[in-house]
Amino acid sequence: MSPRDCQERLAGKVGLISGGARGIGAAIAEVLAASGAAVMVTDVLEDLGKAVVERIRESGGRAQFHSLDVTDEAQWTTAVSQTIDTFGGLDFVVNNAGVELIDLVVDTDFEKWCRLQDVNSDGVFLGTKHAIRAMKPGGAAGKGGAIVNLSSVGGLVGSFATSAYSSSKGLVRTFTKSAAIECGNLRYGIRVNSVHPGMIRTPMIEEFFNRFVEMGLFATTQEAEQATVTAHPVGYVGEPEDVAYAVAYLVSNESRFMTGAELVLDGGYTAQ
């Protein structure tokens, strides 16, 4: 695809990305902006989020930052209306914000479990709810659109010491299907899909490896990384852009027949 095609792919579309300040979210914001969309980058990390917006603007894209704690419903209302006021519409929402917890089930503190579910599960519910309200016919934007919920390979298969995270991603997987069915049945013109990345090179991955070593699962972070890479048949972990390109497809008109689906980007991790 030539750069010109890329720029036109999402031309005229407006979207909101949660957790857009770093990692996969930042890559999504940058790729979607480079594809012609105007993006509202949201996060609780203001400085990093604003830096993403600066980078997008420097490359000629349209972006703005809005502080958003995805667990707070009032903030969702404001963030969505702010996006519509700023860019004149809302065509997609990418529910990307998420947190991690590496612990055995027996050692998972209930408070920490709940905090993770508040962000990863309730946050995706709220983002989907307010996206539907705004994009459905008669809503503040009212032209239909696409919702992309970030799940994980952890939403498809289990793994060691990731039960809280994996449960939240399993929740996102089936919740997304329900949302897709509701929007389909009601002829809202809104598609809802989940994305399931394998291990992606982000700031989170280092925290992973450090935690694995801390738990005594691996002697060194190098060993943890090697084992992680080996678990992906392609022999490498993904880059944030790998996920961003998939999201670009899901929010574009090219995926107009795709809803309630799972887009897996995992280097073969779940093929085994």
């Binding site: 089930v105 479990w113 579910q117 519910f125 010491a161 089936t174 299907k177 329900s178 509701e182």
Partner: protein, 275 residues
């Protein structure tokens, strides 16, 4: 039945706890009945004390061993107490059926966050707490300490979506992955505990009846019969399932006959997800 089958499929000498088993027409009560008939000593738990006692009494009257204990699955302290009582009073803790659950109705766009959280606290957080405390008690060195089988109640909505129940559907999807992670950990750590997800289709229960009525009340369907017909035709077998069909499957997962099954989805759905 020959001796081998009786030994492998039977539950004599095992102690089983079933949560959310107070409704006589529910899946939990059917699991409790089936487990008791297979020879297990059963502890029925719920928050509806009077009804729970009645289920225990009816099992006892039929010659099974069952007691009722109050347990709000949302409280970790209550879980610890219930399991400790079970071990002290029944002499063990070998099987846990995390069955307690509630329905969640309504379109996503209209669903209040508080209602979403209410469903999550029982259907996902409650199953997490049960799985956690169940493993803590059953693993080597735990107060029961002899390994065991944990059965988490999923649903076909652990696999596929449906409209008007997103909180329920989401939680059942969460339970499925919680189960797989727990199974992997228990396997690798050699805890001798198996953890599986039961995946029933639509089952003829009081909860289903309530769910159907809710959909009528919300104007989503014209009549209970209309939605029941939808449910019936959703199963290639042509009918809604019976609670005991899930109860018997739970017996299998609880028994040593399923000793190589862990982290799995046991689909009991009349073909619902085969399509």
């Amino acid at each position: 039945m020959n001796e081998l089958l009786q030994r492998e499929f039977g539950l004599v000498g095992k102690v089983a706890m079933v949560t959310g088993a107070a409704r006589h027409d529910g899946i939990g009560a059917a699991c409790a009945q089936a487990l008791a008939h297979a020879g297990a000593k059963v502890v029925i738990t719920d928050v509806m004390d009077e009804q729970g006692q009645q289920v225990a009494d009816s099992i006892s009257a039929a010659g099974g061993s069952a007691v009722y204990r109050h347990l709000d699955v949302r409280s970790e302290a209550a879980w610890r107490r219930a399991i400790a009582d079970c071990v002290h009073e029944q002499g063990g803790f070998d099987v846990l059926v995390n069955n307690a659950g509630t329905t969640g109705n309504g379109l996503i766009e209209d669903l209040p966050l508080a209602e979403w959280k209410r469903v999550r606290s029982i259907n996902l957080d409650g199953v997490f707490l049960g799985t956690k405390q169940g493993i803590v008690a059953m693993r080597p060195g735990g107060i029961a300490g002899k390994g065991g089988s944990i059965i988490n109640m999923g649903s076909v909505t652990s696999l596929v979506g449906v409209a008007n129940s997103s909180s329920y559907v989401g939680c059942k999807g969460g339970v499925r992955l919680l189960t797989k992670c727990a199974a992997i950990e228990c396997g690798r750590l050699e805890y001798n505990i198996r953890v599986n997800t039961m995946v029933p289709g639509f089952i003829e229960t009081g909860l289903l009846k309530d769910g159907c009525q809710n959909m009528v009340d919300q104007g989503l369907v014209q009549s209970v019969e209309e939605i029941r017909q939808v449910f019936r035709s959703g199963h290639p077998i042509g009918r809604i399932g019976r609670p005991m069909e899930v109860g018997l499957a739970a017996c299998f997962l609880a028994s040593d006959a399923s000793s190589f099954i862990t982290g799995a989805d046991l689909v009991v759905d009349g073909g619902y997800t085969a399509q």
